[in-house]
C-alpha cells in the first residue's frame, strides 16, 4: 500500500502482510458463509465457534504493519531530502482517501446502512492522519498516546455501553450523530480506542526492528517481550478489574479488543517482525516463488482486501435477494465450514495467480488509484 518498488521492499514485511491476508481470507470466508451454519444463537463474530480458526490475528498484524511501513517510508523519504510539507500532503491525502474508500467499500460491499460501521479501512485512514502528527512529535508523545488509547478504551466502552451496540452479535447502530461518533471512538468494529494504538506502535517499533546494528534487535525483542508479559499480567489481574469496566467474558477477544489482546498482539507483532527481519532480510539469495507471490500480495493488499470481500459477500447478497428477497438471508448460514474453507483456499490460489499480474504497468488497482490521487 505504500507504493514502493519491489527492489527496495523488505521480504519479512511482505511475508507478514501476505500471512495477514491469508488469515483474513480464511476467517472471513468461514465467518460470513458458515459462522452460524447448522447452529442456533448466531451470528458469531470472527468464526469463534470454530476453535481451529486463526481468528483475531490478521487485523492487528495488518494495522501494526501499516505503522511500520509508514515509518520506513517516511524515514526513507526524509533521508532523500524530501520536503516535510510534501510528506504531510501525501500522508493526509492517503488518509483521507482511505477513509472515503472505506465508506464507499462499506456501502458497496456490505449494506448502505453499514456505511459508519468503522471498519479497518477507516481505521487505517485515520491512522495515516495520526501518523502524520506522530512523525513530527517526539517519540515519548506517541508512547503516551498509545498508553491513553489502550488504557482508556475499557472505560469508554463502559461509559458508552458497548454491549448495547453489539446485542445482535454484530455492530448495530442508529443513524444518529451520537451513535456514529461513539462508534468511531469506542464501539465500532475498529474504533480509535484502542485500535489506533497498533499503527502508532508499529511506527514507534520500526526503528528498533529495522534500525540495524547489534543492539536494536535486543531492544525490539525486549520491548515485544515486555508487552507480551504485560498482556499475561493483565489477564492474571482480571479479578481485580471493576465489573463495570468488563464488557466481555473472555480474557482474549477481538470484539471488543480486550487490553490483553491489544498488548499481546502488539508484542507478538514486534517479536515476529524482528525474528523474520533477522532471518530473512539479510539473505542475498533473492526471493523464491512463494516469497515473490507474498511480495505481490503485499503490494496489492488493498485490492485483495476488496476483492476477497466481493468474492464471497456479493454472491451471498445476490443469492439471498434472488431466493428470498432478503440479501441477509444466507449470511453465516450458506455453507458448512469445510465448504467455506475450501472456497477460501481456492480463492487464495486465484489470488496467487492474480497478484503478480496486478504488477503489470497499466493494470488498474486500488493501489494505482491511491497513487494517482495522492502522490504528486
Amino acid at each position: 500500500m505504500t507504493g514502493r518498488r519491489a527492489a527496495t521492499r523488505l521480504v519479512s514485511i511482505d511475508l507478514l502482510r501476505a500471512v495477514a491476508i491469508v488469515l483474513m481470507t480464511l476467517v472471513h470466508f468461514v465467518e460470513n458463509l458458515a459462522g452460524s451454519y447448522d447452529v442456533e444463537n448466531g451470528p458469531f463474530i470472527g468464526a469463534n465457534r470454530y476453535w481451529w480458526m486463526p481468528t483475531g490475528f490478521a487485523a492487528p498484524l495488518f494495522t501494526f504493519l501499516s505503522g511500520v511501513s509508514y515509518r520506513l517510508w517516511a524515514d526513507a523519504q526524509a533521508s532523500r531530502g524530501r520536503d516535510p510539507e510534501e510528506l504531510s500532503k501525501i500522508t493526509v491525502r492517503r488518509g483521507l482517501f482511505l477513509i472515503l474508500f472505506g465508506f464507499v467499500f462499506n456501502v458497496l460491499v456490505w449494506m448502505p446502512e453499514d456505511v459508519f460501521n468503522w471498519d479497518i479501512l477507516t481505521l487505517i485512514g485515520t491512522a495515516m492522519l495520526a501518523l502524520n502528527v506522530a512523525r513530527r512529535t517526539p517519540p515519548a508523545v506517541t508512547v503516551v498516546a498509545c498508553g491513553l488509547l489502550v488504557g482508556l478504551a475499557p472505560v469508554l466502552r463502559a461509559v458508552a455501553d458497548y454491549r448495547a451496540f453489539w446485542a445482535e452479535g454484530f455492530f448495530d447502530y442508529d443513524f444518529t450523530v451520537a451513535d456514529v461518533v461513539t462508534g468511531f471512538l469506542a464501539t465500532g468494529y475498529f474504533p480509535v480506542f484502542p485500535w489506533l494504538a497498533l499503527p502508532l506502535a508499529g511506527f514507534l517499533a520500526a526503528p528498533l526492528i529495522y534500525g540495524g546494528g547489534d543492539r536494536t534487535p535486543r531492544a525490539a525483542l525486549t520491548a515485544g517481550g515486555l508487552l507480551l508479559a504485560s498482556a499475561i499480567g493483565v489477564m492474571l489481574a482480571r479479578p481485580l478489574v471493576p465489573a463495570r469496566l468488563i464488557t466481555h467474558d473472555r480474557l482474549w477477544a477481538m470484539f471488543p479488543p480486550t487490553t490483553a489482546y491489544v498488548l499481546g498482539t502488539i508484542g507478538g507483532g514486534i517479536v515476529l517482525a524482528t525474528i523474520l527481519h533477522q532471518t530473512l532480510d539479510a539473505r542475498a539469495d533473492g526471493r523464491g516463488p512463494l516469497l515473490r507471490i507474498a511480495g505481490a500480495m503485499s503490494r496489492h493488499s488493498l485490492t485483495l482486501y476488496v476483492l476477497h470481500h466481493v468474492a464471497h459477500v456479493w454472491p451471498l447478497w445476490i443469492a439471498g435477494f434472488v431466493v428470498s428477497g432478503d440479501p441477509d438471508a444466507f449470511w453465516q448460514v450458506a455453507t458448512p465450514a469445510s465448504t467455506a474453507l475450501a472456497w477460501a483456499v481456492a480463492f487464495l490460489f486465484l489470488v496467487a495467480w492474480l497478484a503478480e499480474r496486478l504488477d503489470r504497468p497499466g493494470t488498474p488497482s486500488a493501489e494505482s488509484l491511491l497513487r494517482w490521487l495522492c502522490e504528486p
Binding site: 517526539p138 498516546a145 469508554l156 458508552a160 471512538l185
Partner: protein, 261 residues
C-alpha cells in the same frame, strides 16, 4: 606529551651503516605513536687538513642514515653550530661533535623533537577535524530532529576540539620559552632547530585553526542543548494536549451516552 628523558630505551651501541663503530643510537617514543632515533657520533681526532673532509663525509653518511627513516620525505635539516653538526628529521637525528658535547646535544635534540612531534600530531589531528567543519557548520546555526542521530558524533568532535586547544595551550609556553642567557650550545641548538622548522609560525597557525574548531563545535553544542531543551518542553506540551483530548473524549462519550435513549 612525553618528557624528554623518561622514555629513552634500548640505549646501547648499535652498528649504524656508514658511521663510526662507536656510534650510539637511542630510541624514544613520540606523541604520534612513532619512534624517534638519535645517533650520537663522536668526531674522531684528525689532522687539521683532513678535518673538513672528514666532517663532510660524516655529515653525508649521517644524512643518508637519517633520510632512510622516511624515504621520499623532505630532506633532513643540517645545522652546523660551534664545531658540531646536527642532521635532523622528524623520525631520526644524528648529532656529530666532540664526545664531551654529545650529551648536551642529545638533550637539546630530544627536547626539541619532543615538542615538534607533539605539534606535528596536533597539526595532523586538526587537519582531520577541519575536513568535517563544512559538513558540521550548519548545525552550529540550526539543529533539528533529523540531526539528532549525529548528536554523539558532534559531542565527540567538540571534545576533540577542546582537547586540541588544551594541548596547544600546554605546548605554547615551551615553544615560546626564550633561549637561556648567556647563550649555551643546547639553547642555541634548540633555537636553530626551532627557526629552521618554523615551529613558532606553525604553532600560531595551529592555534588559529583550533580556535575555529572550538567556535564551530561550541556553537553546535549550544544548538544541541537548545534543541533538546525545547524538545522536552514540546513533549510535555503534547502530553498535556493528549490528556486534555482524552478528557474531552471521555466527557463527550458520557454526554452522548446520556443523550441516547
Amino acid at each position: 606529551m612525553i618528557t624528554s628523558h623518561q622514555q629513552l630505551a634500548d640505549a646501547g651501541t648499535i652498528p649504524v651503516s656508514g658511521l663510526p663503530p662507536d656510534t650510539t643510537v637511542e630510541r624514544m617514543p613520540l606523541a604520534d605513536g612513532g619512534v624517534f632515533e638519535v645517533a650520537l657520533v663522536a668526531i674522531p681526532a684528525v689532522e687539521a687538513a683532513e678535518h673538513d673532509s672528514v666532517i663532510a663525509e660524516l655529515v653525508g653518511r649521517a644524512s643518508s642514515w637519517v633520510t632512510a627513516a622516511a624515504p621520499g620525505g623532505d630532506s633532513p635539516l643540517v645545522t652546523p653550530l660551534y664545531g658540531t653538526h646536527v642532521v635532523w628529521s622528524p623520525r631520526r637525528a644524528a648529532a656529530l661533535g666532540p664526545a664531551d658535547r654529545l650529551a648536551t646535544m642529545r638533550a637539546a635534540i630530544v627536547d626539541f623533537t619532543d615538542r615538534e612531534a607533539e605539534l606535528r600530531d596536533i597539526e595532523r589531528r586538526i587537519a582531520a577535524a577541519l575536513e568535517h567543519v563544512d559538513g558540521d557548520a550548519p548545525l552550529a546555526f540550526e539543529f533539528d530532529e533529523q540531526s539528532l542521530p549525529r548528536r554523539r558524533e558532534i559531542a565527540g568532535r567538540f571534545q576533540d576540539a577542546i582537547s586540541l586547544r588544551r594541548r596547544l595551550a600546554v605546548l605554547a609556553p615551551a615553544v615560546h620559552r626564550p633561549a637561556p642567557q648567556p647563550p649555551t650550545l643546547a639553547g642555541q641548538l634548540g633555537e636553530r632547530l626551532r627557526d629552521r622548522t618554523r615551529v613558532v609560525e606553525r604553532l600560531d597557525h595551529a592555534v588559529e585553526q583550533a580556535d575555529l574548531l572550538e567556535r564551530v563545535y561550541s556553537g553546535c553544542g549550544d544548538r544541541v542543548a537548545e534543541f533538546v531543551s525545547s524538545r522536552r518542553h514540546l513533549t510535555l506540551e503534547w502530553v498535556i494536549i493528549l490528556l486534555l483530548a482524552a478528557e474531552v473524549v471521555l466527557i463527550m462519550i458520557d454526554l452522548l451516552a446520556n443523550r441516547t435513549p
